[in-house]
């Protein structure tokens, strides 16, 4: 194969891997939207919060140390060497469940039967709140996350693909980040687990019932509140996974919460209500924006990744207003 073709192939592979990362975030949106009709803008901040909490447990930070120091003039920093990664993840998961319970208890309970735009704005308020809360609790400095995932270039893949090029072309081989590959693997695992959970467990069936019709679900004795806590907990779990992946990739900092903006075009492309849609949408967007940046972006001055995903999604929407896999929108007068 010629080096040009291999370059394109490399761009496509990296695009697919980036797309998986987008899907990871989009997945959390879809879960909550399906179960409660809430478009949860806070998903990105939830990922940030989960990552912050995980790092905080791992390094043994004292929560709110900064605030306590300011008020009482003390110099608290850490309470010890920190927890092993596995326990830190478990504890973080506990925090996310507690968070889900509190959100249901304090906010969502009062918002039943409100217009979708009001619910959407509530989640934006929640996003602001959590961002401020997370910063107060763990500090706003950039943290590095290390949970033992492989990272760096895959030399095995590089030497293998270097052999594919035509003789004497000096092709150095493809660059693939091990972390992206690991993330893709975990994302696939996550989707399989979620699918099995929703298809074969009692709770999963209740979740699907609620997603289908709130009232009908209530009449057969499914508790909406419990379901909502479960859904937000699962979304918190997905946020934790996304937070670990993105945090390991680019550090735990404020910009982590902006991945929500990366997931939105994925969502409208795939449809708000479809888990396969989130995956396929992520892959299309990942490959699309990388290819566009590679082929045309340079001519336009670069950094087209910021908007290309949205324009691509818009283009798809022109033909399918409900997204690729979304439920057909039926309107009656």
């Amino acid at each position: 194969m010629s080096p040009e073709l291999l370059n394109v192939l490399e761009v496509i592979i990296n695009g697919l891997l980036a797309g998986v990362m987008y899907s990871l975030v989009a997945l959390g949106f879809v879960l909550i939207y399906k179960a409660s009709g809430i478009f949860n803008y806070a998903q990105g901040v939830m990922a940030l919060f989960a990552a912050l909490t995980l790092v905080g447990f791992q390094t043994g930070q004292i929560p709110f140390a900064h605030v306590i120091n300011t008020i009482f003039g003390t110099h608290l920093e850490t309470w010890g060497p920190g927890l092993p990664t596995f326990f830190a993840i478990l504890l973080t998961m506990g925090v996310m469940v507690l968070f889900a319970y509190l959100v249901e208890r304090i906010v969502l309970r009062h918002m039943v039967n409100q217009a979708p735009i009001i619910l959407f704005m509530t989640t934006i308020g929640l996003a602001y709140f959590m961002e401020g809360f997370g910063d107060l609790m763990w500090g706003a400095d950039i943290k590095t996350m290390d949970v033992g995932l492989p990272s760096g270039a895959s030399t095995w893949f590089e030497t293998m693909t270097a052999g594919w090029a035509t003789e004497g072309s000096n092709y150095p081989g493809m660059y693939v980040d091990m972390l992206d590959v690991a993330a893709a693997g975990i994302a696939i695992l996550l989707v399989v687990v979620l699918t099995l959970f929703s298809q074969y467990t009692k709770t999963g069936r209740a979740l699907r019932a609620v997603a289908d019709d709130h009232q009908a679900a209530l009449t057969v004795g499914i508790s909406l509140r419990t379901i909502w806590v479960i859904v937000w907990s699962i979304a918190g779990f997905v946020a934790l996974v996304a937070g670990i992946m993105w945090g390991a990739k680019s550090g735990v900092q404020f910009s982590l919460s902006l991945i929500a903006l990366k997931a939105l075009p994925v969502l409208i492309l795939g449809g708000f209500t479809s888990i396969p849609g989130a995956i396929v949408g992520g892959l299309i967007i990942g490959v699309g924006e990388k290819l566009f940046e590679y082929s045309i972006g340079g001519m336009l001055g670069g950094a087209t990744e910021n908007w290309f995903a949205y324009v691509l999604a818009l283009f798809f929407l022109m033909f399918r207003p409900q997204g690729l896999f979304g439920e057909r929108i039926i309107e009656r007068v």
Binding site: F39, H66, V67, T70, V107, H110, M111, Q114, A115, P116, I117, I118, F120, M121, T122, I124, G125, L126, A127, Y128, F129, M130, E131, G132, F133, D135, L136, A140, L261, L264, P265, L267, I268, F272, L300, G301, G302, A303, T304, N306, W307, Y310, V311, A313, L314, L317, M318, P321, Q322, G323, I329, E331, R332, V333
Partner: protein, 358 residues
């Protein structure tokens, strides 16, 4: 007892159709306007201008614009920041290209240019609805900001990539640039906002406004009874972008003095304006002002309390401010999802009966 509409009889059609048909409303509005035009300019100083009054007026204009689109026509838009950027850059190009042009005309022309851009980005609304549209309007936000970053023509090839407003005078007094006196910039913005708030108030109770509201309440039904969705939606996008463009121009030329697309017109600004109209009240002109006042004044107040009184470090105060704003937004949406305007309506109802319970 304090708020009465009874005993206020009209003898002509024009009296019945006037902008504020209830005498008390009229007096209150005229009283506030008289205070704002005749008293405030003599009291204003640099601090009040830069941190309270100008931001309030600029964001009130933007909130008016978005409220026309989202509150009255039901099309949720997250592209406000991008459209404000269009207004700002149009204003800059006009100011530089035609130095003799009156600033009022510059701002209005900037609004008109934004209106044209708004119509183009409003086209998808004919096919896409609801959240899909909201996310689709983000395309305009990111694309426009990227465009103003990447095409040097827009910022006249300046090395820093920023635009800064040259000094322009009105009646011999500088209105833009560093030399402009606070009362001049304030009066300039106040005049524009007052005129266009009156226009908006009359627009939404006329034929166009009713067609917007019909589309908002149910677009298919509106189409069946003869409201053309194409005309209604695109006119809402045009008028809304016109207002937002003017507010962008004012933000850049009078308030900030210099602007840079990422910081001044980023996605955060789009959300800010959307918050204003939701907290103020969707589909209410008064609500746009209340929401803008709430969200521009509250951070100033919080900062003054936390940094000024308690002496907390600024970064901690910023985080706490973020937390409090989020909590307040959620609180407001839980207590009164229809916004401050609805709160005012309820208060009026109370005042009408007070002190008798029935």
């Amino acid at each position: 007892m304090f708020y009465r509409e009874s005993g206020d009889f009209k003898t002509s059609y024009s009296a019945d159709q006037q902008t504020f048909p209830i005498r008390l409303d009229r007096h209150v509005v005229y009283g506030i306007l008289a205070f704002a035009f005749l008293v405030v300019p003599f009291l204003i100083n640099d601090y009040w201008e830069k941190s309270v009054l100008l931001p309030f007026l600029v964001w009130a204009m933007a909130a008016l614009g978005l409220n026309i689109l989202t509150g009255f026509c039901g099309q949720v838009s997250l592209g406000t920041g991008g459209f404000m950027a269009v207004g700002a850059y149009a204003c800059y190009k006009l100011m530089v290209a035609f130095p003799w042009l009156n600033m009022f005309i510059v701002v209005i022309l900037a609004g008109l240019i934004t209106a044209m851009v708004g119509v183009v980005f409003g086209l998808p609304s004919l096919r896409i609805k609801g959240f899909y549209l909201a996310v689709a309007t983000l395309a305009s936000q990111f694309f426009l900001v990227w465009l103003f970053n990447k095409v040097p023509w827009f910022y006249n090839y300046s090395a820093s990539g920023m635009i800064s407003a040259p000094e322009r005078t009105l009646f011999g007094i500088p209105v833009t640039g560093a030399e402009a006196p606070p009362w001049m910039t304030y009066l300039f913005c106040l005049t524009l906002v007052t005129i266009f708030a009156f226009i908006a108030h009359n627009l939404v109770r006329g034929r166009i406004g009713r067609s917007w509201m019909a589309i908002r309440d149910m677009d298919i039904a509106a189409e069946i009874i003869g409201v053309p969705p194409l005309k209604a939606k695109l006119s809402a996008f045009a008028v809304s972008s016109f207002y937002i463009g003017m507010s962008g121009a004012m933000l850049f030329a009078l308030y900030l003095g210099s602007a840079e697309p990422n910081d001044s017109f980023g996605i955060a600004k789009s959300f800010l304006v959307l918050f204003m109209i939701i907290i103020g009240g969707l589909g209410s002109i008064l609500g746009s002002f209340l929401g803008a006042a709430f969200l521009t004044l509250m951070p100033v107040l919080l900062k003054n309390i936390m940094v000024g009184w308690f002496g907390w470090p600024a970064d901690l105060a910023a985080h706490l401010e973020l937390l409090l704003i989020g909590a307040l937004i959620m609180f407001f949406l839980i207590v009164e999802p229809h916004g401050l305007a609805q709160l005012w309506r309820v208060t009026k109802e109370r005042l009408r009966l007070w002190p008798f319970p029935h």
